[in-house]
Amino acid sequence: MNYSPITENDKEEMLKRIGVRSINDLIMDLKPSINEKLDLSKPMSELELVEHLRNISQKNKIMKYFIGAGAYYHYIPSAVNHLLMRGEFLTGYTPYQAEMNQGTLHTMYEFQSYICLLTGMDIANASLYEGSSALAEAVLLSSSYNGRNCIFIKEGLNPQYLEVLKTYCEGADLKIVNEIDDNTACVIAQNPDFYGNIENLQYVAEQAHKAGALFITCVVEPTSLAILEPPGNYGADIVVGEGQSFGIPVNFGGPYLGFMAVKSFLLKKIPGRICGMTTDSNGNKGFVLTFQAREQHIRRERATSNITTNVALMAIASTIYLALMGRKGLINVAKLSYSRAHLLQNKLKSIGFEALNKKPFYNEFYMKAPSGYLETISSNLLKNGIHGGLDLDEDKILICCTELNTVQDIESYISIVMDTK
């Protein structure tokens, strides 16, 4: 394939106009030069490409997932992708020229509003890369806000998020500590936590605030917010998380949708793009990127973050998803996810699995399988096209359900487990 429309004739004319004889005259300065063709594969036509990619994709196996742990397999209404694939959304860039990109800005404003409504916070940005690095950004924000350099993490944070946090902390000379004191920049709690537990975290917020630290709530499965108390109501200063559940495929891990919402006193510290409503020269309403003085292209080394490209298209996807689902649809998703998870947990309990959650849970839970059986069970499930969960150590398994895990799937899950035993 060749996506350049320049013909040989055009090329001749253009070179002549430039005043050179060949393209080589234009690239003489680009050194050291490569003298041979790069050892890449033979160019493919579109037809060959389709064949090639189909073959590769078929080496992947798509299962009935009972696994979450940071990526959730929810139903995505068809209209989401149809709208998202419009070239107007897909092929523009950051709306630096607001008058020409009101579409992206309008949707960003709606996205910010949705995130605020769901989290109970005052201000949201227009997205960050994904949940774990968004959490790291929240930590950097806290440290920059109060000048402190210690981080306290309540147990139950997704282990991959913890890994990412450690990496960022190493870079930024921050320490992860085991107690809250007057060096603590922030206290982090994931809700629901990695094991699915849900809690009212008011008491954690109070502990944090008493020490003068900020309280960060991390939400990795945001459909939970349809039924759970918004973190803004139990004292969160920052809510960050992963928006993938809202209309974004699991995509083998990305692109996803990091979000961040803060209380208004942190407005000038928040990283990333923010869209605001304003008026034009005739008094009509319109949208622009605002508070850009926080950002790297203006403030350089004094910026609140280095983030530039975010995941605008994923924010648009989630906005369209939320609009299509509406209050009613989102609550149904949450209820179905909740009820399927509890159904499966009950059934597994009845066949000898031990429930390990000591607190209420939403759509994820962990259990201990009868000793020595977990590996065989998981592999038998896999053979039958079911991904039974995430195997943890010591016969423990983390299981997740969404509205896509039907009652029939749950019954097959159970019968395969029973056959194994």
């Binding site: 798509i62 201000i123 280095n306």
Partner: protein
Amino acid sequence: MKLIFEYEEEITEQVPDVDDNKEIELGGKAAAEDITIELPQNLMRKKLPLPNVSEITVVRHYTNISRMNFGVDLGFYPLGSCTMKYNPKINEDMASLDGFKNLHPLAHESCFQGSLQLMWELEQDLKKITGMDAFSLQPAAGAQGELLGVMIAKAYFKQKNEKRKKIIIPDSAHGSNAATAAMCKFETITIPSDSRGNMDIYKFKEVLEDDVALVMLTNPNTLGLFEENILEISDLAHIKGTLMYCDGANMNALFGITRPSDQGFDMIHLNLHKSFSTPHGGGGPGAGVVGVKSFLAEYLPLPRILKEHDSKFVLDYTKQKSIGKVRYSYGNCGMVVRAYCYIKSYGTNIRKVSEHAILNANYLLTLLKDDYELPYSRRCTHEFVLSSRKFGEKSALNIAKRLLDYGFHPPTIYFPLIVREALMIEPTETESKETLDRFAAALKNIVNEIKENPDFVKGAPYTKLVGRLDEVAAARKPNLRWTSLSQSNGKENSEKKLYGEKSVRNSSND
């Protein structure tokens, strides 16, 4: 256009209804499965203030909103430094194949051999294109790639027990370079550019001491000029033990022509959404993959993808000197599939991409250089920067806004910071001669308009749905979200008084 929150309550049925009449009252029975939601009241939300709108309304709403946008699919988008090339449609289809789109990142290793093969092969191709020895596909965008690079430098010198606290950056650099250095607590030293647009080599030598960890260069730089002293800079840096980092935002100029590793760079990030055609999506997602020389490979994030001798692919989590992880999972795999398709489409002909990008930029430069000022009198690579300073203060802004009326997206303006009234123009290889001619004609025409009636140009744009927007007011009276004034009394759907100017201030009292 109204907001989605401003429509009347409508019917919406996207998923099976579990509880016919009590959708707002939570805690009732989920009829289908006879399970009660039994959560303590203090865990439960009292209400969810989201609108219910029917599918037809949503489709029309976002279709009409999209029509207020501009993208490469609609016209010329010469936004300098962003490489707004055509995004092949087939690549969207390929990334949406069930096997890619619906693959869970924590699935069992036997489930994702295809994706690992694709990612591994992409790494091999990127190694050939850049000359680097190892790649990580993890970073989500260029700035995260930079962050990874700076973290690697920090870990590398920590391992060697060397205290290096400085990073050298030229004044033409992207702002993200300096911001990244600051995130890792490095001090930045900014080097001015010389009269040919290179980093001033004399100033560079003055500050290059053995406490410098990294030199971060964009090559070709943001002026669209190839760094003429690159080999000398790399040699000098390496003599001091300093690492060379390439901001690969401008890789679109170099495919098959020259390799960053041969220029002496030890690390590079590539923006798959720029050089490798994955769509920009209104501001992302991108992918900022990072390549390094072999002596830095052990510092790359985990997991790494390994190919075993039986052609099986595995994820290697062996912690050597790795800096850890910079994000959940393995990267923006959806974007990785698209970039893979792009490279496979061009294959051995990939040099043509850069040749045409350079041809187009030089052609457009030739057409425009007499009407505007060319601050550095050199041939450009894939982009170039003009100055409109002879037309006065704010002329770049006014010209940009007037270009909207001609149906073009404006160039990047006021960047790089070292050129006054800068217009940074990157046509890319996917534009035709005819388009370039039309664009040049528009810019020439605007020059005439400025001469004849400068106030007219200052009032642009005239043909968009909105006129020039007031950015100052947006920051002074922030209105950053919709709020329903009636939320507090539970009638969020009946009353629709919106856009409280005081929305932010009000809610701060919560």
